[in-house]
């Protein structure tokens, strides 16, 4: 099992969700986050003075998938979240040791 975590542009969330659902992924955790990568921030003006906005709003999604689904999930997110412009985000994959569905007590891939 793996956790696939992706930082994406906020307006791409629906497309990413649809793409994952089409793969049979039934669960997704979403967090509103701020950060920067190569895109850096941008400058805004307030009452005649410029200031830097260093952290841009992004969406972080986390999805737990079985090992044989990882490649497909990563591809689906990458395709759905891509605009080709700077700031599209990143995908990280990390190992997942154990999973439990609280209601039934099912574990590991049965719990996903």
């Amino acid at each position: 099992m793996k956790i696939v975590m992706a930082i994406i542009k906020p307006f791409k969330l629906e497309e990413v969700r649809d793409a994952l659902t089409a793969l049979g992924v039934h669960g997704l955790t979403v967090t509103e986050v701020k950060g920067y990568g190569r895109q850096k921030g941008h400058t805004e003006i307030y009452r005649g003075a410029e200031y830097a906005v260093s952290f841009l709003p992004k969406i972080k999604i986390e999805v737990a998938v079985a090992a044989d689904q990882v490649a497909a999930a990563v591809d689906a997110i990458a395709q759905a979240a891509r605009t080709g412009q700077i700031g599209d985000g990143k995908i990280f994959v990390t190992p997942l040791e154990r999973a439990v569905r609280i209601r039934t007590g099912e574990t590991d891939s049965d719990a996903l």
Partner: protein, 449 residues
């Protein structure tokens, strides 16, 4: 013509009484002649009623400007200080109302006689049965009181986000009970400036610049907000919490200004007065519109982006600028006066930041600088005035207000302190002094990512 005016201004039953019920029963020609004679001048009762109505309607419109200031300031401060800003606004309006009854009105209007102040003590209002003159005495008190409150509203925006509540309210009590009435008496109380020929129709100088001067001395003595200016002298903007609220506040102020300027005609019992009030409405609106358009164009040219807050300030600067003489200018001149007011804001806001004078809402450019501009250009359209006298009035009122308010700020600072602690400023005034957060469901911890 007179009939049309009466029919519009007064319900038909009342106009019949005013014209004399007997006219109906007479022959048509006689009735017409009688009506013409009776209608040339409105009876004293009718004038009393219309004048009083102007004071009351104008007065509650100006009262509503307190709501405008509250919303403008609530939108321009950060969310951690919004409750405090609202609390300051409703408190200052109330304190101004009490002080103007206890002390202010008589100090401003009773027995000034070309001098420097009136009498001490509360105003006494006659019983309705004994009320005589051109208007109801209480309507005049109400109308003048809301102007006094406006002066205090101007101060609260500048010193926002860092001043404790209690010292601010002490200052407001002195400003509204003593300082504003004294300088007001010089002109509107028929004091020495009035005798000299100074002219300030609705208070560009008497109300707006007085508030602006008091705000300026307060900002200088209080110092800037933490983090507003970096150690190397750069400006670090602290954007306000709600642009919709700031916009609503500006529209409310704009609406209130029709009472502010229109009501200052002080009479509406004749065709001439009614027409003057209407013309004032027109010029007031044109000047505000000119202020907005000028500031939008300048923002686009200078910054390549249009700052909404400067457009809002532009409207108010246009309004302040036309307030000194909203009746005499032609529509084109009213637009120009307002437009220059809007331009003043666009240049003065960054200039104050260069001087490290931290004015949260822009009250100093809007009320002080546009007020001076509006007062100085009165002679362009009003033949009875001169640039020299206007200048003397501005300097005299400015000097008195700067010195007196400066001393009072310093005394209050020595006795009770003006500024909140650094920790309180960082975490927000709402949590410490008010105990009510404006937006408790959005936790910020006083930080900004």
């Amino acid at each position: 013509m007179i009939h049309r005016f009466l029919a519009r201004a007064i319900p038909s039953a009342a106009s019949l009484v005013l014209l004399g019920g007997a006219a109906m029963a007479q022959a048509p020609e006689a009735a017409e002649a009688a009506a013409e004679a009776a209608a040339t001048v409105l009876p004293a009762d009718g004038q009393f009623i219309l004048n009083t109505l102007l004071f009351l309607i104008g007065g509650f419109l100006v009262m509503w400007m307190a709501a405008g200031f509250a919303m403008l300031e609530a939108g321009m401060v950060r969310s951690k200080n919004v409750s405090m800003q609202c609390l300051k606004n409703i408190s200052l309006y109330s304190i101004a109302g009490l002080m103007y009854y206890v002390l202010g009105y008589n100090l401003m209007y009773d027995g000034v006689d070309g001098g420097f102040f009136g009498s001490f003590g509360p105003i006494s209002i006659p019983d309705p049965s004994a009320d005589s003159g051109d208007y109801a005495a209480a309507s005049d008190w109400f109308f003048q009181m809301v102007f006094c409150a406006t002066t205090a509203s101007i101060v609260s925006g500048t010193i926002a986000e860092r001043m404790k509540l209690a010292p601010f309210l002490v200052f407001v009590a002195i400003l509204t009970g003593i300082l504003y009435p004294i300088t007001g008496s010089w002109q509107w109380g028929s004091g020495w400036l009035y005798e000299m020929g100074f002219s300030d129709f609705a208070g560009s100088t008497l109300v707006h610049s007085v508030g602006g001067w008091a705000a300026l001395t307060g900002a200088l003595i209080l110092g800037a907000r933490k983090d507003k200016y970096t150690a190397d002298g750069k400006v670090n903007p602290l954007p306000g919490s709600s642009m919709p609220l700031a916009t609503l506040g500006t529209f409310i102020l704009w609406l209130g200004w029709f009472g502010f300027n229109g009501g200052s005609q002080l009479a509406m019992g004749t065709i001439e007065d009614a027409s003057a009030v209407a013309r004032i409405f027109m010029n007031t609106n044109l000047a505000a519109a000119g202020g907005v358009v000028a500031s939008i164009i300048l923002c686009q040219v200078i910054y390549k982006k249009i700052d909404l807050t400067l457009a809002l300030n532009g409207a108010l600067a246009g309004l302040v600028a036309i307030t000194a003489e909203p009746l005499a200018p032609s529509p084109a001149l009213a637009i120009a006066i307002g437009a220059v007011g809007g331009a003043i804001v666009v240049f003065a806001v960054p200039m104050l930041d260069k001087l490290k004078i931290d004015d949260v809402v822009g009250a100093i450019p809007v009320h002080l600088l546009a007020g001076i501009w509006g007062t100085m250009v009165v002679p362009l359209s009003n033949d009875g005035t001169s640039f020299v006298t206007q200048f003397i009035g501005i300097v005299a009122i400015g000097a008195f207000t700067v010195v007196a308010s400066g001393v009072i700020w310093l005394v209050i600072k020595a006795i009770m302190g003006l500024r909140v602690s650094e920790e309180e400023e960082r975490l927000g005034l709402d949590k410490f002094e008010v105990g009510v957060e404006a937006y408790p469901e959005f936790a910020s911890g006083g930080g900004r990512i």
